[in-house]
């Protein structure tokens, strides 16, 4: 795995452990994560652009903060 892939995977693992904390305040928001820094937006484009402004050379891991309702997939 190249360093950038490792970094994104670390952010994925970090997000898996911390998503429940983001659910306290940011339900429904789009997020872009680089080095555990979470950029938040009301659209994916907004979250992505905020992240790129801060980390122009790094590609963020994108996600959305889920609601706290039961999920039946």
């Amino acid at each position: 795995m190249v360093p950038e892939e490792k970094r994104k995977h670390r952010d994925f693992e970090w997000l898996n452990k911390n998503m429940h904390k983001l659910q306290q305040k940011h339900v429904g928001k789009f997020i872009a994560v680089v080095n555990k820094h979470v950029s938040i937006g009301t659209t994916a484009i907004e979250a992505y652009n905020k992240s790129k402004a801060m980390f122009p050379k790094q590609e963020p891991l994108l996600d959305v903060v889920p609601s706290r309702e039961c999920l039946l997939l």
Binding site: N16, M19, E59, D63, L71
Partner: protein, 132 residues
């Protein structure tokens, strides 16, 4: 082989729950790879992303093939099918993905063109999903 650890999320009714997610790379319309998290759903016929992600990835949502999707509720969801390349680990796969017309859907990795390429094991005791 790649393992994706499950995610701890809050559920009003159940408290903390663990859900299977995967880190997927998806090629956008400008051939850039974007990293996105998706729920792994063996019950979903097809993969789906919300409109907002579709637009970020450069898709004109309504230019795809229109479909109606049905979950367990009575309501239907309108989405449009687009072709995208995704990376799971080091395996690049071209799939059809539904892009919803709203943001009110989770990103889901469904069975179509995915589950026939990988042996996918939901490993409860290790709290991870294994793609082989």
């Amino acid at each position: 082989m790649i393992d994706y650890s499950w995610r701890e999320e809050l559920s009003e009714a159940l408290g903390k729950v663990s859900r299977p997610v995967a880190e997927i790379h998806m090629k956008d319309k400008h051939n850039n790879w974007r990293a996105i998290t998706m729920y792994i759903d063996s019950g979903a016929d097809i993969s789906i992303i919300s409109r907002s992600f579709g637009e970020l990835f450069g898709h004109h949502v309504e230019k795809g093939r229109k479909i109606r999707l049905k979950g367990i509720s009575a309501e239907h969801l309108i989405a449009y099918i687009h072709k995208v390349s995704i990376l799971i680990g080091k395996s690049e796969v071209e799939i059809e993905i539904a892009i919803a017309t709203s943001d009110n859907v989770p990103n889901i990795l469904g069975r179509q063109q995915i589950f026939n390429l990988f042996e996918i094991q939901f490993k409860n005791k290790k709290a991870c999903t294994r793609f082989i």
